[in-house]
């Protein structure tokens, strides 16, 4: 069972497991091996593990070079440093060059907690989804991550994986199946649909239960792949429920709200509301404080959903 395992444990175990039959998999770290816990991969495959030190630009370039020779590098750092710190290297050496590099950014949004504003990626998916053809995925929990890892490895192209490092709230179980390119419908509703990702999925489920007690039928859909986003699932949500609330642990600017709005506006405009960080920097604190500070709680989703329904 994966229930009690941290996301980073699942990540590393999956790499080790897949690497048994796939000798292309290599791991490149920038001094966060002990945080992301890829040490077991290093132990299992010492020749396929590299640590460049605190040098993220070099980590990305080295990974791109490995990829030109057919390797599948997984390189990781905290989400801030795995993306904006080395954005041009990702853009040119990886994406523009069409190299099969997997970039893992951990501690998404308020999950950075007491590392604070300097370490709080609230824009990582936004800037990464701005890179042409970049696959952008945020696995929700350990069961999903375990199911998605072989698909991410099999995907031939650059990818960004937004990864909670520690234990994620359990939403799914190992019997659930996931397709990397299809949103996961948790429940359907007639009054509104909450489209959520990451830590906001469990809060969306909680909000939908509260709303049910209030007499509203609200669905929850988990768009864990932000790009390419499952357009059909979003259009179905809009058509079937007539109102959308997007809940994300990310800046509203160019995040999941933007990605969903791009689909909604072009296909079936309906009232939309957002639960997201409203164009602010992060700050230091524990999760309950930060969720309240940035209005990322289940009650915030309830409030925005009622607002969306009222606008129908």
């Amino acid at each position: 069972m994966t229930d009690n395992m941290e996301m980073r444990e699942i990540y590393c175990q999956s790499l080790i497991e897949e690497a048994k039959t796939n000798d292309k998999i290599v791991v490149v770290e920038a001094d966060l091996m002990n945080c992301i816990k890829t040490g077991p991969f290093k132990k299992a495959y010492p020749d396929r593990f590299f640590n460049v030190g605190i040098a993220e630009a070099n980590m990305i370039g080295v990974s791109a070079g490995l990829a030109t020779c057919g390797k599948i590098p997984f390189c990781s750092s905290f989400g801030t440093f795995a993306t904006r710190r080395c954005y041009d290297q990702i853009f040119i050496s990886v994406a523009y060059s069409k190299q099969n590099v997997k970039i893992v950014g951990t501690d998404p949004g308020i999950c950075a907690e007491i590392n604070g504003g300097t370490h709080m990626p609230l824009e990582d998916m936004g800037i990464m989804r701005n890179i042409p053809h970049m696959l952008c995925v945020e696995p929700t929990d350990s069961a999903m991550l375990k199911a998605l890892m072989p698909q991410i490895i099999a995907y031939d192209g650059a990818a960004y994986i937004r990864l909670q490092r520690k234990k994620a709230e359990t939403v799914f179980d190992e019997k659930d199946t996931f397709d990397l390119f299809k949103a996961k419908t948790v429940s359907q509703g007639k009054d509104a649909t909450i489209i959520a990702s990451g830590i906001m999925v469990s809060k969306a489920i909680e909000a939908s239960k509260t709303l049910k007690d209030m007499g509203y039928d609200v669905g929850v859909v988990n768009t864990f792949t932000w790009k390419p986003i499952d357009e059909k699932a979003i259009i179905d949500c809009a058509k079937n429920s007539g109102a959308i609330v997007v809940a994300e642990n990310h800046n509203i600017r160019n995040g999941l709200f933007s990605a969903v709005a791009e689909v909604i506006v072009a296909n079936c405009p309906v009232p939309m509301e957002s639960v997201a960080v409203m164009d602010e920097f992060g700050e230091v604190g524990k999760m309950p404080y930060l969720a309240e500070r940035f209005s990322l709680r289940a009650e915030d989703i309830v409030e925005k959903t009622l607002k969306a329904i009222k606008r129908k």
């Binding site: 030190g53 630009a57 370039g61 030109t68 050496s93």
Partner: protein, 274 residues
């Protein structure tokens, strides 16, 4: 090197200079200075030292050549065209709509280019990745990476040099085309990277410094680098920007990118008409 081979390579370097001048001349403007300063090294690598062939440009066992100073693309395209990687007529398409020959090297457009470059400072990290892949796969190919001196003001270059030195990548040879100039002036006036050889040694790299236009000296240095075990090599090539074409080199740092008239290129190339 025997006299015949030396004369062949010197003559080939002149051919490549002519093709480079023609390619940029037909367009009327381009990065001519830094292209001409690296021609002699490219000649030694492609016509003598490197294990590459147009018959199998993606051979996994081939040597890799990373032109990190991507704006020298036209010099590299001249070599590749001359060697038959693509029809020589294509040099007339430089920077034209839909071309396979863009200003800066693009591995997905031009047959024979091993790494995309243009945003300076990124190529050495990629070359290190290629060298590491060679070590993993126990292949004996070499990786040659060409940096500019101005480019070496980028911080990523020093991240990569540190790592190459510490990893003792003896299948990687790094060149710095030290022509002393960059867009805004003399490198020494703007932000000097000297003493390059001392810095290189301090990064635990096997270091040589030579005249980058002396074919014999380049060949000797490359051989020495290849034969150096358990250490990554760096060769500082002291060069002249625009070398070999007086009306280019006389412009000083102004020759980084300059206009070329039809009369100028036709006279240099000895082509009165097509």
């Amino acid at each position: 090197m025997d006299k015949q081979k030396l004369e062949y390579l010197q003559s080939k370097a002149l051919d490549i200079r002519k093709l480079t001048v023609e390619m940029i001349g037909r367009l009327g403007v381009g990065h001519i200075g830094g292209a001409l300063s690296i021609v002699d090294l490219l000649t030694v690598l492609y016509y003598d030292m490197a294990n590459v062939t147009p018959q199998s440009p993606k051979d996994p066992n081939r040597d890799r050549i990373v032109m990190s100073k991507g704006h020298a693309g036209p010099a590299l395209y001249s070599v590749l065209a001359d060697k038959g990687y693509f029809p020589i007529e294509e040099i007339k398409t430089l920077n034209k709509p839909g071309t396979n020959l863009p200003s800066h090297c693009d591995m997905n457009k031009t047959v024979g280019i091993d790494m995309t470059a243009g945003s300076l400072g990124q190529g050495l990290s990629c070359a290190i990745g290629m060298a590491l892949a060679g070590k993993i796969d126990k292949k004996d190919y070499k990786v040659f990476c060409i940096l500019g001196d101005g480019e070496s003001q980028e911080g990523q270059v020093w991240e990569a040099l540190m790592y190459a030195g510490n990893m003792r990548l003896d299948n990687l040879v790094i060149f710095i085309d030290n022509n002393g100039m960059q867009i805004d002036g003399m490198t020494s006036d703007i932000n000097s990277i000297e003493p390059l050889d001392e810095k290189s040694k301090a990064f635990n790299l096997h270091t040589q410094r030579i005249n980058g236009h002396d074919i014999q000296a380049i060949e000797n240095a490359v051989k020495c680098a290849i034969n150096t075990k358990d250490k990554c090599s760096l060769i500082v090539l002291d060069t002249i920007k625009g070398y070999g074409v007086d009306w280019v080199s006389s412009k000083g740092f102004g020759c980084h990118s300059m206009s070329i008239s039809e009369e100028q290129w036709r006279e240099f190339c000895g082509k009165e008409n097509d």
